[in-house]
């Protein structure tokens, strides 16, 4: 029986922009349907439309029927009824999605008390029951807690429990695990699957992650630019994509399973990057295996927070990267990988240990201007979010030129030439030099950030989750770009990431961090194929793939007791 039936649904903004163009999809009772696409594809908009939450002033066409009732153009009272009984929604970021100023209990019982008119004790009993259903350890205690007292994974369970308070027939999940660590993601997915099965709900699962969609959905719809590009059996679409867009998307999606050459993947609007000159030049210096370019010797960092037990962020970590090589540091949030990067870049001071870059000691945090300049000439960092790391009022060219002028005495003309040179290296052109970040896409911004980091020709480039905020196709472009620059210039790279699949594409060597300690290290391919440490194995097993066995994973999780 069809639960949700969207047919030929269009949505236009007041200014005439068409955001959704003839979207049709169905979800049957008990079915899990994936809605896959990159940012701006309209997948979240489609999902919100089911609950009548369109942008203000938008005009709609076609039909969205939930449980036989038309949602489009329904009066406000009917929309409230839809939200109160027919469909529930789980949002992406539980930190943002649960009111930080109210207790967990208030979040859960609010609709029960205010909408269903239940008594406080009755509502709390129901809330406890739901918290137990999503496998939270101490339901009664959690009711009195505030969101900041719970971890992201626990909060997402609260969000799921909150969506279930209305016993919905359809559960819409909008990227419910994107903000979470990979092991936590596996847990949340298994909770969602269990609830869907026991309650016989239909589930509309929105994600940008094709691997995830293929591993948990019955059918998927692939969306791009407001249209459905392809639909069909989830695994079939993943293994044998028909539409050109889906093929590109599958190709760009990094996997830990397939072993292939680190070749460039050309997808989407990557043409400008692909056509950029790729002349192979000799490595600037002979590879010297004796002295590593970056040599970090048992550094440690402990944070002493006021009134709290000290946090050992990094414990006795040692890494070495030979010239021209790339090392990945992999770990979940709180593993200390970013602290490690920040100490190397000189944004934090190490408590003990030593950091050598190209044989020069760079342990101390630079204080004076000359020290800062010297440090930043040797190590440069590309940050996670190019929307935040570029000054919104400074054009791309100026941003790079400023860096050049700070570190050298180039004339204006030479500096400009060099800027264009750098922009070309990252696959951008003269027209991008005058563009302010606002007018650039996420991928273009990250290219500018990389060009800026390369401008001073650093000995070591640190990339801290530099592709995590990007769409898969853009991520693929940026990864190719880094691979290309490494080939051409023999750049030494420290690549911080939570994503094992991405790491496989970029780095020869990988270390795995957990709670500040390096638990395993080795060649990336070996480490991914034959992990020795149980934590590495758990990480690998938690990465979604089409033949994913969640029950087995849950078993590992419990028997080996590897907490997040």
């Amino acid at each position: 029986m069809t639960l949700l039936d969207i047919s030929d649904y269009t949505l236009d903004l007041p200014d005439g922009t068409r955001l959704l163009d003839g979207v049709s999809l169905t979800v049957a009772v008990g079915e899990t349907v994936g809605l896959v696409g990159e940012s701006g594809s309209g997948k979240s908009l489609t999902a919100r439309s089911v609950l009548g939450m369109q942008p203000r002033g938008a005009t709609t066409g076609g039909s969205v029927r939930l449980d036989g009732r038309e949602v489009l153009g329904a009066p406000a009272g009917d929309l409230l009824a839809v939200r109160r009984s027919s469909a529930g929604m789980v949002f992406q970021d539980p930190r943002a999605g649960i009111n930080p100023m109210r207790t967990i209990g208030d979040h859960l019982t609010e609709t029960l008390r205010l909408v269903d008119g239940r008594s406080k004790s009755d509502a709390e009993a129901r809330a406890v029951e739901l918290l137990r259903a999503v496998r939270l350890p101490r339901p009664e205690d959690h009711l009195r807690q505030y969101p900041h007292e719970l971890s992201g994974g626990m909060l997402q369970r609260v969000m799921i429990a909150g969506a279930l308070t209305s016993s919905p027939r359809l559960l819409i999940c909008d990227e419910p695990t994107t903000a979470l660590d990979v092991t936590t993601q596996a847990e949340i997915i298994s909770v969602l699957g269990e609830q869907r099965a026991t309650r016989g709900m239909g589930m509309l699962f929105i994600t940008h992650d094709l691997n995830l969609a293929a591993s948990i959905c019955d059918r998927v719809y692939v969306m791009n630019a407001g249209r459905v590009e392809e639909e069909g059996d989830a695994r079939r679409v993943f293994r044998n994509p028909q539409a050109a867009y889906t093929r590109r998307l599958v190709a760009a999606t990094p996997t830990i399973a397939s072993i292939g050459p680190l070749g460039p993947v050309v997808i989407g609007e990557a043409t400008d990057a692909a056509s950029a000159p790729r002349s192979v030049v000799e490595l600037p210096r002979a590879v010297d295996a004796e002295a590593p370019m970056l040599d970090v010797r048992s550094i440690a960092k402990t944070y002493h927070l006021h009134g709290k037990p000290p946090v050992r962020a990094v414990v006795d970590a040692s890494i070495e990267i030979p010239l021209g090589s790339a090392l990945a540091v992999v770990g979940e949030s709180g593993s200390g990988k970013s602290t490690l990067a920040r100490m190397i870049v000189g944004l934090e001071s190490a408590d003990t240990g030593e950091i050598l870059v190209d044989g020069v000691v760079r342990t101390a945090m630079p204080r004076r201007r000359a020290e800062r300049l010297a440090h930043s000439r040797s190590v440069q960092m590309v940050f996670q979010d190019p929307y935040l790391s570029l000054d919104p009022r400074i054009s791309a060219g100026r941003a790079i030129e400023d860096t050049l002028r700070l570190h050298s005495t180039l004339t204006s003309r030479d500096a400009r030439t060099r800027v264009l040179d750098l922009l070309e290296q990252v696959g951008l052109g003269e027209r991008h030099a005058t563009a302010v970040p606002r007018t650039l896409s996420g991928g273009q911004r990250q290219r500018v950030a990389i060009a800026r980091a390369l401008a001073v020709e650093p000995d070591v480039l640190v990339m801290d989750e530099a592709t995590s905020a990007l769409d898969v196709s853009v991520q693929a472009q940026v990864l190719d770009l880094v691979a290309g620059i490494r080939r051409e210039r023999g750049l030494t790279v420290l690549f911080i990431s939570h994503d094992l699949a991405v790491v496989r594409r970029v780095c020869e060597q990988t270390v795995v961090m957990r709670s500040g300690e390096i638990v395993e290290r080795g060649a990336t391919a070996t480490l991914l194929e034959r992990p020795r440490h149980p934590y590495t194995r758990l990480l690998l097993d938690s990465v979604p793939r089409p033949d994913w066995d969640l029950d087995a994973l849950a078993a590992i999780d419990r028997t080996e007791g590897v907490p997040a």
Partner: protein, 318 residues
């Protein structure tokens, strides 16, 4: 950190602030030109003996730090010395006038809260629309009217032309006092409404865009409930902070309004006492204003964990 320790810490900071303020208030008089003794003996040709006697009588012959300690000792038991112009205890002089100013400030505060919050909420809910812009323009316009101009306009229209309200004095008895304070309160409130209105608007607009508001909406709560429980509730913090900062401004601005409406409050008393070098009164009033400001803001600080539970967990929690 426990709530008790936090409150104790705040109280300690409050006492320190008051102590520093007392130093500033007391010693600033030595920077001001003019000699209190010549004011006391104005119009006469005093003999040196008379000068010495008056100087000793008011303790002005002691070194400044001893004068300070004497003064502070008195202040701690509620004795602010004698007013030079009224030849009465400062406490008596201020005590007669304080209720008028407090009434004025409280009534103006209530008006600011009601009008500012309402305007801010309306503007936030209609953000980007004509009503939002009109409210903002109107508030900004009000904020640009100085209190003395506002007072004159109000007197001219509502007291003289329409005759609805009295234009002078503070009246007899409670209700009559309230009635007399209506126009002065409006004149005082007008300038400050814009601050509260704008903070309310921006704080609410910030919350309206948050995902937890969308989540609440998706769960089938009525819009009014969502606004009340999730938008307004979370927007309170900045509004309270700004309101606390307004206290000093209100007390100071009241002097202008009191003068315009012929009210015998501490604001007009302050102006008059400065004019006549009546240092004990000036010191007492300034200390009172500082005290009121610091205490109100300390209370708001202490309330913070109840307003935003994250602040109790320290800066580390987001």
């Amino acid at each position: 950190m426990t709530a008790g320790r936090r409150v104790a810490g705040k109280l300690g900071a409050l006492l320190l602030t008051l102590f520093l303020a007392s130093l500033l208030v007391f010693f600033s008089r030595f920077l001001v030109p003019g000699d209190p003794v010549s004011f006391l003996l104005r119009g006469r040709k005093p003999t040196p003996e008379a000068i010495a006697q008056v100087t000793a009588q008011y303790g002005l012959d002691l070194p400044p730090w001893q004068q300070y300690l004497q003064w502070l000792g008195g202040v701690l038991v509620g004795d602010f010395g004698r007013s030079l112009q009224y030849r009465q205890d400062v406490t008596t002089v201020i005590g007669e006038r304080l209720p008028v100013t407090l009434g004025l400030v409280l009534m103006a505060g209530a008006m600011i809260a009601i009008v500012g919050l309402t305007a801010g909420i309306i503007a936030a809910l209609k953000r980007g629309r004509v009503l939002d812009r009109s409210v903002l323009v109107f508030l900004t316009m009000l904020g640009a009217i100085p209190s003395f101009v506002g007072s004159i306009v109000l007197i001219a229209v509502f007291a003289v032309q329409l005759g609805w309200f009295p234009s002078f004095g503070s009246g007899e008895g409670f209700l009559d006092t309230l009635y007399h304070l209506v126009l002065p309160s409006i004149a005082l409130a007008v300038v400050f409404v814009v601050l509260v209105g704008k903070v309310t608007r921006s704080s609410m607009v910030d919350q309206l865009g948050r995902e937890h508001v969308e989540v609440a909406t998706s769960r089938g709560l009525k819009r009014g409930t969502v606004i009340r429980r999730h938008v307004l509730r979370n927007a309170i913090g900045p509004i309270l902070t700004v309101s606390g900062l307004l206290v000093a401004g209100l007390l100071v601005a009241s002097s202008i309004v009191e003068a315009a409406f012929g009210l015998a409050g501490i604001g007009s008393l302050l102006v008059q006492s400065v004019d006549r070098l009546d240092f004990p009164v000036v010191q007492a009033i300034v200390l009172f204003v500082v005290f009121a400001f610091v205490v109100v803001n300390a209370i708001i600080d202490i309330l913070e964990p109840w307003i935003d539970p994250r602040s109790a967990a320290g800066a580390g929690a987001r």
